[in-house]
Symmetry: D3
Subunit: 319 residues, 6 copies
């Protein structure tokens, strides 16, 4: 009999009632004792165009009230096999970029120090940089990256090195990511120049453009991705703009021609063999959302990742 945290039962308390937390789980003050810490990072200081992802965690919490207790395909019942709770939002600073990054790093370090694996909701994609720093703990990580954009540009607005278009360039420069173990899936949309991705490719990043994905399909692509990241520690980052704007309009930099949610779900469900040390869903921007559609997609992708991570936690425990 487990004593893990359980969500409020929707057959007793309706989904619109009660405090709003991720997956209707208890809000806890610390990640201590958790296998997986669900955490919000309400910060979009790196956004170069349409801000709003700062409001992402609140709306993903709201829409995660539609999630239930078990996965209908894998049969995983995450709350039976892993201890999971909502540890709240990290401290942020909406008007000071470098302090914002520093606060996120410190907050995430506290979570990681407990041994819990973080599953966070941004926030813009620059939040993933301090998260990677905290999660890496001296290790160089692999990464499976779902996105419309490579986010490996160098700088904006006359030399600004830290924006949501640059985090993975920084992470590679800092040695936090091993570019040879990084795969980016779903990249598409017009580019600043024909050679925009040359730096990334030169580092060894494998870019699977949307067109290649369409030809090969989810299974083949994820098989390759798993091979690239291998058995070492790997981070999963899911930018909601990888999904088509018709399904995820509430994001700052939409690009038509994206993944369907079906395709995204299919891919996430195939990550069971990856050695996941943390994951996130980013760029849900509620001021641009429509009827909570994007927040629902974000909550669902979070649920998919949580089920994979819970099954891994169980396996680790049994070893």
């Amino acid at each position: 009999m487990t004593t893990y945290h359980k969500p409020i039962d929707a057959a007793e308390v309706p989904r619109f009632a009660g405090h709003s937390t991720f997956m209707r789980l208890p809000a806890v003050a610390s990640a201590e004792g958790l296998d997986i810490a669900l955490v919000g990072i309400p910060w979009d200081g790196g956004t170069t165009n349409r801000a709003g992802a700062r409001h992402g965690p609140r709306e993903v919490r709201n829409l995660s009230s539609l999630m239930r207790s078990a996965h209908h395909v894998s049969g995983v019942a995450p709350f039976e096999i892993a201890n999971i709770a909502d540890v709240g939002d990290l401290s942020v600073n909406p008007i000071d970029l470098m302090d914002g990054i520093a606060r996120i790093q410190r907050g995430m370090e506290e979570i990681v120090a407990t041994g819990a694996l973080p599953l966070s909701v941004g926030g813009d994609h620059l939040t993933t940089l301090p998260v990677l720093r905290a999660v890496s703990r001296g290790r160089t990580l692999g990464m499976i990256h779902f996105d419309a954009h490579s986010d490996t540009n160098d700088s904006y607005f006359g030399g600004n090195k830290y924006t949501h278009g640059t985090p993975f360039r920084r992470a590679i420069e800092e040695g936090v990511l091993d570019p040879k173990r990084v795969v980016q899936i779903g990249i598409r949309g017009s580019v600043y120049e024909p050679g925009e991705h040359d730096w990334a490719k030169a580092q060894g990043i494998r870019i699977i453009y949307m067109e290649e994905f369409v030809r090969r399909g989810p299974e083949d692509v994820i098989a390759e991705a798993c091979e690239i990241v291998g058995m070492q520690e790997t981070y999963i980052t899911f930018d909601v703009d990888s999904i088509d704007p018709s399904m995820a309009p509430g994001t700052g930099t939409p690009e038509v021609g994206g993944f369907t949610t079906r395709e995204a779900q299919q891919m996430l469900r195939l990550l069971g063999a990856v050695n996941i040390v943390g994951a996130d869903v980013v760029e849900v921007a509620p001021p641009f959302d429509i009827g909570g559609m994007t927040a629902l997609v974000g909550a669902t992708m979070m649920f998919e990742l949580m089920c994979v991570m819970a099954a891994q936690a169980e396996r680790r425990r049994k070893r």
Copy 2:
């Protein structure tokens, strides 16, 4: 030369003009003389989370003004071969669940008594229970059920047996449905527990999860469904949440990863051989809709069903 009811001609009266009825057909006081009775059931008393389907009939009527007079694939011109009209909305009770169910049943019995086949627009999915009772007329029906949810739970909120999550459990218990002739297509989304569908399966219901559908495709799946229901009387129920939330956001319980409208249309067009005794489109919830998108999907699915039913009416007449 037929004397059947005809819609107002949009090349004479623009689509935004005139009283709003299903398919711009005449509003008639009784189903007497009709082959197919288009009817609204504005009731969502069984909704456990986000109510609003009570407003469904009005908005589906509005958007059905975009439908025209013939089917571009089958060539069926329904209003030439069957007598069809809008018989209005059934009497309902928005604040008394059991009275609401009873009123719907009585209203539907009156329609069925005329010999017209009902094609209704809900309302939440609990409305299908009293409709099935009325349509069955002592017979045990088969059912092809398009939905994200099985709707075969037992009870909610401390023993409430009648909600939009339970109608088909009740219908089977009451002998109105033959579970061995029930097929559910498109089921997906997180579940309350891994065994949530065990009861349904134990009764003999065939559940075709979304993932199986994606693998096999519309034609194969519908071929199996037709085999399951056989030549006996069968009801078709189409929950708009079977469609992906990007295409049908206006519904109470959205689940990402649903049918595309193309897939749904393809399936409905293949139902010609089924012995249809009634059909419905349910769970269109306008307060959650966006720009009438879901009501348009509802109206289109209604049109698809109407064309199939009209062709059957013509065949029956010719026999």
Copy 3:
């Protein structure tokens, strides 16, 4: 130095961050030790037309994040002078009207039993009936009632006695309210029949129609209201549809020509001398709201009431 609960400081944690509670106060498990218990009643089972107030507490919590710590006119700093917290939502039943009412009454009785005064957010106006039962504790209460509608009808839909159009008829019949100490302000809009309010007037209820309010102004009207309710225990109920639909569109039964928020604030600020035993803000229906406008009005009216109630709590303590 007080040890009362304090809201999260928005100059440290931005308003979009952190768990969403009323006024950013702590979520507590019980009303024990509180002066004022902020509580949600997510239930709209009595709604005869456009449901949605069940979602009211969640959105009012979200928008109450814009409230700060002191009142700019009265200078009251409620969290310095009274112990206030968010006690969560009462248990409800969205599909069983009588059980819903019973659960609300039981939940409210528990709060009242601690000695805390409830300040609740509905929910539709039928929620006020079980709340009044719980708050009255054998006493007959007076009431100041801000609303577009008198809500003293007898029944709907063939004899249904419990809807959001009937609560105060029931409360008077039950002896919970003393009609001679009830004043209704802002009543307007078309009526079912010219004599619709005759029963209420015959009981002794003082109805101040919008037109009289416009002529006399907030101060004069509230002076009369205070005189009517006198020094005995009085409940304050604020239906957000008393406000003009341009300022509070998110409600089930809008009537143009309502209060401005300025007028409403002016009235609530004048209630200091009333012996308030509880208060509520009802009929905020987010599915019909626009940009959170109505939830912000609801949160602001809640803040106004809270400041008045906190000042009274301090005065009681000093006596």
Copy 4:
């Protein structure tokens, strides 16, 4: 005992149920036997900027479901004292301006020929020109005109004489309106040139700008208006853009600083002594509306006008 048409009783059939007609009255095929014919004119062919008023009648019908059976201030119960019904929409032509005008005129002439007084819902303000022609029947009419704009310009786009900015210039030139018996109330907003209203004033039209209205108030202004139009036949035209855009955003040419709905209601209620031969509410443009707010305002103003006209019908009958 009257045998007049009655609306569907909302205490029996909920407001969201049943076919959508003006005031939930029966849809009738002809105005024969009616005192007041409620009629839609779904046409915006004269719109120079943001079209959409063609969709006005449908949405005003929908929102008029919120109207009830009696006036809470005057006590008038219109359906007890006058025979009123919904005669549907006039024939229009959305792509041919001159044919559109001609169809509207013919349709309105048929109504007027029955002796019924028309109360119509546009449509843009150019619809009032053919309506005035039909209603005048050789007489020169007075007019009380609520609007942000004088609509007495001469031409647009290189000589186009018929737009929604010119109807009353045309009506005066045609002798349908007597400019000395025309009063325009609420005129405001920037103008094309300082002398834009010189022509109108030179004809004798009395323009009461918003600023004068604010100084004098509804009663004084309407007293003057009644004096201007005198006891002869007078038409009432209510452009919904006379209302402030916060209350009526769904219109093509919004101007901030408009009437509140309270002020508008107050004015319409004072028209009892005017010899009203017809009235309209125009420029409700649903594609620019928000949550039905403007359609509700339109329906309410229609209700106010209907009550005044019904009382006049009763008085005429008694004479």
Copy 5:
């Protein structure tokens, strides 16, 4: 080193800043010297139901701010190889259909006279008729036509020959289009009568219905289309309602079951061998759009067409 016009650099000036032009290119007064003239045609005078495409150019300009400088699949950097600019909007007349058509034709003739190829944004589909007249310059054109509708009806509303449902019938009658070199792709939705497309087919137009497209896929279909139009001058017209309404809701005549944006992009990218003499994107109707979704699709399709046309301009120059 080219001296072609360049867009404002978004890494210097954020996308939300600066004047709004197509692709952030300079606004120029004349097409002189351009290879491709980007031009708006803000006119929807031919719209039979839901107008609003008159607002299309402004919103497509706004959303085109999200486009960048190079194509990620073809590698084409259009602004390096062709001279492209925004020549503004053509003169239109919103209230006079025939004058509107004449103005568009004259405006387009001026552009064509400079030798620039027009890439325009409508406006409704009737705008394509005067554009074809101007572009043809005595030649009979082929056309690849992406649409849900054939737009080859004869007349509406009692003989009106010019609506957005008739342009290609007129163009064929006038000899501007060669029906044997016209292919229509994506046609679907209910039809006015089973034989609605008989005239078009009799002329030799090749209609590829959506169902055929789904079976064969983009590559096969475009291969056939290219064969049909051959090496002679061909116009490309892209009606945004060819896209599914979930991805392009902001249009006047939505039909469910449309192209995905992926499919549309795939098709447009295969048009390199067609002898394109002009192209357009039409029927973006912002009043019905949601969050700019449709304008973004329109801007993206415009970008795809621009890249193909720029590559052709470069090839022509090199010859």
Copy 6:
């Protein structure tokens, strides 16, 4: 005969056509030769809660297309008496606060150096700080400040001195503003602590709270304001959140109970005697706006200010 810039004539070119600029004036590259420079400042780097004002200039430009050429009350025809044009947007930096402020200051200094008076559209209220620095040119300015908030706090988030809650504290500390010549009108809403405004008052700022405004009315309040600022150079800053959220919902920090637009217009029209050296409209945040309502209010207030400033320019020229 003036040779001043003129807006595009809406009776020739419809309001929805043509490039979008402030008041449909020409876009010019420099302020040289202008009396009044209309300029956008698309920057919200100082926003502590809901960002989005960066998108303000674009939407205010769009909605300013509804403005015409003359003022209906004052009779001022600004484009006849002053040279006015749209000088575009200032350079900004969305991700570096201090660089953003510096860029705005430099850009504004260039405008001011030409002798043109700036009338800008923000942007959040922190933009007014660098604008004041540029406009002051060594002088200490007075200011009339319309706002719900005093914006004189000291710091946020652990010492951040530059946010949209602090600009006027900084401006006073820097000697740019003379606090004894600063008047703030419309201040309201809950405060962080009872003494929040003590610093401002101690400096000599005159705060006219909303409640005092309601008692005294626009004329009396502006008379006092004019006296306070006297004949010396004065800046006018208009925060759109001074307006009630029902009229201006699209702003980051809404406070119910605000000015009506009528009141605001009345106040601005009375500023003719003030020695205005620049003015702005700030905090229009389109992502939170509804149907362009707030952008229309912003454009209208800009028009009102422009008319006052144009009349002053004419008077100066005549001296």
